[in-house]
Each structure stands twice: as structure tokens, then as C-alpha cells.
Symmetry: C2
Subunit: 351 residues, 2 copies
């Protein structure tokens, strides 16, 4: 199952609430991030593919995934965070096949090595069949303060390549992240979970039995979705299930390294796209529209016009038909402040 | 007379060969630079106003100057530098009034203090009546390497405020310009000339009698303009007349300080427009389209879309419907290289 949500405000003006990150081709491959996620999962799951997305994006998701049955694209009446979205999918899958193993993978991540990803998922699936809540922990490539971390415990008996999880830790400072990396025992939390739906819902029920029951009731009678949805708690799966389950020794992790990126901002997008010539700009889009002199960074000529950049290093220029962003890779995180300012001044049409 | 030519490539993409600098409102006053020049000169010359411009711009000039008689807008068949343009005006004016004094002032300069300008022109006019070729020398405000300089000689007898000119000097290095400023005897050459048309043409005739005769022949029979024009030398008035005349002791200068700027590039435009709040960006155009966070510099939201700038100092962002420029004030001179690159790649539609 693929939770397809999040506006990706740090990628404005490419990503908008009306056209979020997962619907955009941010890698220049001709496929959106959602389509890339589908392409990557299809060899593992065939047609057992389920998307949970916002009502506003249901049609766009269906259009981008013509091979996916309409019934497998579930529209949330409103955004209620990841526990509700993934929990609903679990309740639906539990009814369909009580012995199934499900995996949950975000719609807006990229993975450079799909075969390596598939290997990790297979190890995780085997552990999930034995009743573990399994996550995949990404080998950190730098001491990031933008991700949560997973603290590795002992090897998981009978499952080579898997470990018990000591705990999940929130986004640390860079200093703390450096200490984590030095131990070799921490991995990035990419929000990937592999688990039997029944195990997931039973773990949820231990902390919030009403929530688990409500999800199972909706799955039993999908017509109640509209009315029941607004009453569900708005909470992340990590807090509702993963953290307490880890404390109880019931979570496993498969450490892996397959070139994962969540494209959190234009800085990471620039790193991901990597200029053919590091002394010039990276172009996402039509190269012929860009003229750069003594410049490096990322240029997105998405407005159809010529974009000329002169004498700026690590600049980010994103042109679209109705909005233009100029910033630097170092300030890429601050783009969300522009989105906030636009909202505040009533220009929600642009956000 | 106003020579209205020059593409202003360092102000691309605001200034184009199809829509050059002098036709643009670069100061946010609602009047183009040409209109501003007309407004400034009208109190001094009433309707004795003559424009020489390129054929491609004749209609636009007429449209911007509805008060100017069509016969007073002379279209050059091709660009042949300033001697031909100003010399033709001189020949036309000489026929109209042999005792006239003419002034030549570029169409794309700005002047902060029109009254001070008028005072300088009046001093220059009095000296011109006595047969001098008179220029106006701008008090330098910094050691610019972008302008030629005028070396002041002795006071001009009978004309308080005017000096003889020792020589015109080409654009110096900054070091040399600093030495010029230290002497107090150098002024910027802004290409302003006040002179009796007959004096100007006779000075020209001393070096190139055929050129002067050709200009007078065209003025005598304007129908010959088309055929005769292409045969005229392509030379600046400074080289053809002003420099040799200065060497012969026949040029005077009126030093003056009236807030002159030729808006040579976006750096000088940014200085000229001066942000209300120096910690934010200066906007030329609709303020409501610009969102800036931790940024300074110049933003021109000329494409009608929102322009967001985050975390860049002294940046220059110029958006237009078909081209976008991003550079810095320090690199403003290099914008002409973009225009050259566009021409080379066949995108003359954008230049």
C-alpha cells in the first residue's frame, strides 16, 4: 500500500497542494514519483497494489496509474495522518486475506537501486510472516538532522539481515546524528513498514482499541467511511504503533542501502539530479531553455521561457507558469516560509 | 535633438533590440526614458524638439511623444553611429535657422534635478552662441571605469561656470579614475553637446569635408536620405569632432551636478531606484507580486507572476513574458554575454 499525501511545501512552486510532489516528475524520467513508486513495487506485488490518497487527488492518481483497478485507489475524505491511512488499508487487506503481509511505502520517495530495495523487502516480508512489525532502515550517508533514526539491536534469530529495534528516535541535531553514525548502530527511518495487517491492527488496539475497531468497522462497511473518518485520531503510525511496539521488543529492522531519497527540498533534489558538468547548472526540464554563465546549482525552466543565470553559485531557480522561485541550495529549507507567506496574504491559489 | 538609439544589451531582458532601453519605463514613473528626456527638455526648447531614431522604432517614438510633430521624428535607414545621426540633425537645423543653437542629449539617461540641468544648459548655450563646441561634464560621484572623462582647463572668459577642455580621455581603469578624481579636474563625459549647427558641421568638415557635405546635401533634399545614408562613415561624434576640436582648443565644458545616470546596467538601476527598506529588495513594477525573505537587490516582476526570493543578497531577478534573468549586481556587466550567447544560438527573437 502506498500512502500518497503531503504537499511538499519545501518544493514550492513545483509542488502545490493542488499538484503535490508525488504527482510530479521531479527526476526528469518522464514518470511521476508516484508512478516511479508503482514501477518499483509492481515486480514485488503484481496487481495487489493499494493507494490511499486525498479526495482531491483521486482522479489524478487514477489517471497516472491506468493499470491499477479503481477500487484499489482509496480516497480519504480528509487528511488524518498516517495511522488512519495505513490502518484503513490494513483493515481492508485483513478482510481480503487474513494471512497477507502488507508493506507501506511512501508515494514520493526515490530509490536508485530497485533490486536492492526488492531484496530488503523480501527479508522484511519473511520476518513479518513471523509476526514482527518490520521496518527498513536506510544506511545514513551523512549526519542528517532531517530524518528520524532507528537504533539497531541484536540480530533477529532465523532472519539473516534483520535486527531487533531498540528504539526509534526523533530527528536529532547534527551533533547527535554524528554520534549516531559513529556507532554504526543507527539507520534512517524512511517510514517503510512491512507487517501482517492483523499484527498492525492488534498492536494499534493495545494502545487505542477504539481506533483499531473503527478502522475494522469501516473496512467491513465501506459506506460508513464518510461519516466515521472525521472521528478518527490524527496521529502518525510511528507514534501510535511503531514506538510503543519497539519499546515492547516487537519491531524488527532490515538495514539496507539502495540509494534512497525523500527529495525533501531543492538541495536534495539538486544532489539527486547531479549535473553532468559540476561547473555548470543542473537542469530539470528542457536544457535548451537555459543559458548559464559562471553559475552552478539547479534550474527548472518550467514556465516555457528562456532562463538565464549569470554569476551565482549553488543557486536554485524554479520557473513555473504562475510563480517563480529564486533561492540557494543552502536556504532550500526556508522555501516553506514563502508558502506560509502566500497563504497568509490570501494567495492560496499559488500554494 | 535627441539621438534615440542603442539596444542596452546589459539591461536584457528588459531592453531588447525590438524594444530598447529608451522606450522602457525603467524608473517606475510611468514614463519611458525617452518621455522623461522630452519632459526635461520641453521647458527649455518648447516645440523645437527633434528625434533621430532607427526606422524600426519610428512608430513607437511617435506614439510615445504625441506632442511632437511627425516631421520632427527622423528615421535613420540604418544605424551609423552618433556623428551621422547628430550631424544630420545639425544640417536640418542649420537650414531652418542659421543662428540656432542646438543641444544633443541621449534618449536613455535619467537626471534627478531637471532645474540644475536647465541651468547648465543655459550656461552652455551662451558659450555655444560665441562659437564654442560645448559639452556638459558631470561631477563624478565615484571612480567609474565605465565612462570617458573630460579634462578641465582654464575658466572660459566671459562665461562663468564654463571651462576650456584640455582633452577627452577614454574609459580609464579604476586606478586611473581614482587619480582623476583626486585632481578635481576631471568630469564624466555624458555625451551631451551644445553647439551652433554650423560650428559643428564646419568642425566636421575640417577633418572630413565629404561627410559634412553629404549631411548638408541630405538636409537640402531629404528624398536622398535613403540612398545617401549607407555611404556615410560610421563614427562617433567624439572621435569625428569633439576630440580633434578639443586638441585645437575649441571645446568648452560646463561642469555640473544634477544627479545624472545612464542606467548602464542593473547594478546602476538598483542604485538609482534605491529600496525604501535597504534590508529588502527593490521592486521595479508591481510590489504585490514579490515575496522576499532575507534578500536584497533588484526584482522586476515583469512576467505578471509571483516572484519569490529567499536568502540572496544583491541579487537581480528580471522576469518578462518570454525570458528570465537571474544574476547579481556585481555581475550585472556580464549580462551582455547572455545576449551574445542567445544571438549565437539563433534566439535573436529574444534579443
Amino acid at each position: 500500500m502506498v500512502p500518497a499525501g503531503g504537499a511538499g511545501t519545501r518544493l514550492w512552486p513545483l509542488s502545490r497542494s493542488s499538484s503535490p510532489k508525488f504527482l510530479r516528475d521531479l527526476t526528469g524520467t518522464g514518470r511521476s514519483l508516484l508512478q516511479g513508486t508503482h514501477d518499483r513495487l509492481a515486480p514485488l506485488v503484481q496487481d495487489r497494489f493499494l493507494v490511499v490518497t486525498g479526495r482531491a487527488h483521486r482522479d489524478a492518481v487514477a489517471e497516472q496509474l491506468p493499470d491499477v483497478d479503481g477500487a484499489a485507489i482509496v480516497a480519504e475524505p480528509s487528511a488524518r495522518d498516517s495511522m488512519a491511512a495505513i490502518g484503513l488499508a490494513a483493515a481492508m487487506l485483513e478482510r481480503r486475506d487474513p494471512d497477507a503481509v502488507m508493506g507501506s511505502f511512501a508515494a514520493d520517495h526515490v530509490i536508485a537501486d530497485p533490486a536492492g530495495f526488492g531484496d530488503a523487502v523480501r527479508v522484511a516480508t519473511a520476518a513479518a510472516r513471523d509476526g514482527w512489525l518490520v521496518t527498513i532502515g536506510i544506511d545514513p550517508t551523512f549526519p542528517s538532522a532531517a530524518f528520524g533514526y532507528i537504533h539497531l539491536g541484536d540480530d533477529l534469530e532465523g532472519h539473516a539481515g534483520a535486527h531487533a529495534v531498540v528504539e526509534f528516535v526523533e530527528k536529532p541535531s547534527v551533533d547527535v546524528a554524528e554520534r549516531y553514525l559513529a556507532t554504526g548502530r543507527y539507520r534512517w527511518n524512511a517510514g517503510m513498514f512491512v507487517v501482517r495487517p492483523t499484527v498492525l491492527l492488534d498492536l494499534l488496539a493495545e494502545g487505542d482499541p477504539d481506533f483499531a475497531a473503527a478502522l475494522r468497522a469501516i473496512a467491513a462497511d465501506p459506506d460508513t467511511l464518510e461519516d466515521a473518518w472525521a472521528g478518527l485520531p490524527k496521529i502518525a503510525l510511528d507514534h501510535a504503533v511503531a514506538e510503543p511496539a519497539a519499546a515492547a521488543g516487537r519491531v524488527a529492522v532490515v538495514p539496507a542501502s539502495f540509494g534512497w531519497d525523500d527529495i525533501g527540498d531543492f538541495d536534495s533534489l539538486a544532489t539527486l539530479l547531479e549535473a553532468p558538468d559540476p561547473s555548470s547548472v543542473t537542469v530539470l526540464g528542457d536544457d535548451a531553455l537555459v543559458r548559464a554563465i559562471a553559475a552552478t546549482g539547479l534550474v527548472v525552466p518550467g514556465g516555457g521561457k528562456v532562463v538565464a543565470v549569470v554569476g551565482l553559485d549553488d543557486v536554485v531557480v524554479v520557473d513555473t507558469p504562475d510563480a517563480l522561485l529564486v533561492t540557494t541550495r543552502a536556504r532550500a529549507q526556508d522555501v516553506k516560509a514563502i508558502v506560509a507567506a502566500l497563504k497568509e496574504s490570501g494567495r492560496t491559489d499559488l500554494t
